[in-house]
């Protein structure tokens, strides 16, 4: 593995822009998916399940769930982008190969791809936030601070997914990551239920998961509750993102420049 430190420059922008232009072409189905799916979750689980559950930690279940869905969707969107879409560009369309014949480097590609994954998270979380606000599930304007947090979380999940993509031999490989990491994280990070009621081992285990920390920031911002430990939560997300960025670059340099 080539351990030279990543070179960071604005050359990531054309990589990001290329993905954005493709997304813009397919904006119809993309937006339908972005609005439709979380809306279904909010309605079916929030109101359906919520009528049995009643209140969770002093919040109506719909209000509690909305913040979880915003973060869960951010994670899933960035993960999907960093796995399937990025792998397609790397292995099948040889888009990255084309870029590597120009002044762009592997570092530029990884940075552009992970910021793009974060952008996709933003594009999926913003509509949910809007829908939640229209349904009266958001406390106030402070909820807009959710957007930069979602961007950061998306970049972090995108970078983690790129590490997996760098190791993948085919699309099937991604099922390991989904089954062993993403799905447990989705279920045990406080998206659907608070972690306080869980055994201590699960509660401690959840602290390892980046999604737990994203939710710990986003939920107070959306519900108007106090947010006492902002910095440590942000640092966990930044830490995961930075380590994954470094790993993805090392692995992809080895894979693409061997």
């Amino acid at each position: 593995m080539n351990h030279t430190l990543p070179t960071i420059s604005l050359r990531w922008i054309p990589v990001w822009r290329r993905n954005f232009l493709v997304w813009r072409k397919l904006i119809g189905p993309a937006l339908l998916g972005n609005f439709g799916e979380p809306l279904l979750y909010l309605l079916a689980l929030g109101y359906g399940l919520g009528s049995f559950v009643g209140e969770v930690g002093g919040l109506s279940y719909s209000v509690f769930l909305a913040a979880g869905i915003v973060c869960g969707s951010a994670m899933n969107t960035a993960t999907f982008e960093g796995l399937y879409s990025a792998y397609t560009r790397m292995a099948h369309q040889q888009t990255w190969g084309g870029m590597l014949a120009t002044p762009l480097s592997v570092d530029d590609i990884v940075l552009g791809e992970m910021i793009w994954a974060g952008t996709k998270s933003l594009l999926s979380a913003a509509p949910i936030l809007l829908v939640a606000a229209l349904l009266g599930l958001v406390h106030g304007w402070a909820a807009l601070w959710v957007l930069p947090v979602v961007l950061l979380a998306g970049v972090c999940f995108g970078a983690l997914a790129l590490v997996v993509t760098a190791l993948a031999k085919s699309y099937d490989f991604f099922l390991y990551y989904f089954t062993l990491i993403v799905t447990p994280m989705f279920l045990f990070s406080g998206v659907f239920f608070p972690l306080d009621g869980m055994p201590m081992a699960v509660q401690w285990g959840a602290q390892v998961l980046p999604l737990t920390h994203a939710i710990a920031i986003v939920r107070p911002l959306m519900t108007g509750q106090p947010l006492p430990h902002l910095l440590p939560h942000l640092l966990v997300l930044l830490g995961y993102g930075a380590v994954a960025f470094y790993l993805a670059i090392g692995l992809l340099r080895r894979r693409l420049l061997a």
Binding site: L21, Q93, T95, G97, A101, T102, P103, L104, A258
Partner: protein, 304 residues
């Protein structure tokens, strides 16, 4: 004259296997240089090293006065690549493909638009500017890839098997375009399996096998050096006996491959006289060519 590409002792080893074995290479401005060799000879690895896409394990390499791989980014700003495998963006139109690729070089604005119009004319795709990639034929895709490789006005154009898989018409257009690029004074490096393509286009060729350069020179000089002026390919019943009894006397070298006997001769007269008296043997008489040189140097064994 400073060489456009200068490689000394260039070596690449993949998991214990030496794929490129200490090659020396000099390509000069304005020439068309061909890299020939069977599959697995090390051609593509050599090109990847030239582009700075894989670091050499030994040797030194300069491309357009940039040290490679250290200085590869600045070098790539002045080089164009037509890769072996099509990597056009399937989600974009012809025009968008050129614009987006230009953005990787940091190019935009009205000057780029003029350049794109000019390039679409050059590769005869003006009418297809708004077309999706999936609607293009193989030849059109290759022409678009050529236009794309020229977007940054490169001093050096590298083409990895530019006409593989194309029909004769499409190959003719590519050849024409490459000739007109040479007339503009650009330097070309290409790999190919087609010897007649190399003979037609290249000022000089290097024949590679097992990671080494076996011979290097102009196609004409190589043919003169390695091959007798006359080649007869003879086949028919009992051609083996004819080879033993007649061909060996009149040809400097003979070689049997399957059903065919190849005779390489300084003078064709005696062989032709004999063959005209043997209607059961069919033959073809032709001058020696680059394919003969290639086969002599690399052998006739099938490569994967």
């Amino acid at each position: 004259m400073t060489a456009t590409v200068q490689a000394l002792g260039l070596t690449k080893v993949y998991s214990g296997q030496t794929v490129v074995d200490g090659i020396e290479l000099a390509v000069f401005p304005g020439e068309c240089f061909g890299l020939l060799g069977p599959n697995g000879a090390g051609k593509t690895t050599t090109l990847r090293m030239l582009l700075g896409q894989t670091p050499p394990d030994a040797g030194s390499l300069t491309v357009l006065n940039h040290r490679i791989p250290e200085d590869a980014r600045d070098m790539r700003a002045r080089v164009g690549l037509v890769p072996q495998q099509d990597n056009l963006d399937p989600d974009f139109t012809v025009l968008e493909n050129l614009r987006v690729y230009a953005s990787y070089f940091g190019l935009s604005g009205p000057a780029l638009q003029r350049r794109i119009d000019e390039l679409l004319g050059f590769v005869q795709l003006e009418a297809k500017a708004q077309a999706g990639i999936s609607t293009l034929s193989g030849g059109m895709k290759r022409r678009l890839t050529l236009a794309r490789a020229l977007i940054n006005q490169p001093d050096l154009l590298i083409l990895d098997e530019p006409t593989t898989g194309l029909d004769p018409q499409a190959r003719q257009i590519i050849w024409q375009r490459l000739r007109s690029l040479l007339a503009q004074g650009r330097t070309l490096i290409l790999t190919t399996h087609y010897m007649e393509e190399a003979e037609r286009l290249c000022d000089r060729v290097a024949i590679m096998d097992h990671g080494r350069i076996l011979a290097c020179g102009s196609p004409h000089a190589l043919i003169k050096q390695y091959i007798e002026p006359h080649v007869l390919e003879v086949y028919g019943p009992e051609v083996e006996t004819w080879q033993e009894d007649v061909a060996r006397q009149h040809a400097r070298r003979t070689e049997r491959v399957g059903e065919t006997v190849f005779c390489y001769a300084e003078d064709e007269g005696a062989l032709l006289d004999d063959l005209r008296r043997r209607p059961q043997l069919r033959f073809m008489h032709r001058p020696g060519n680059l394919e003969d040189v290639f086969l002599i140097l690399t052998g006739r064994e099938l490569r994967e």
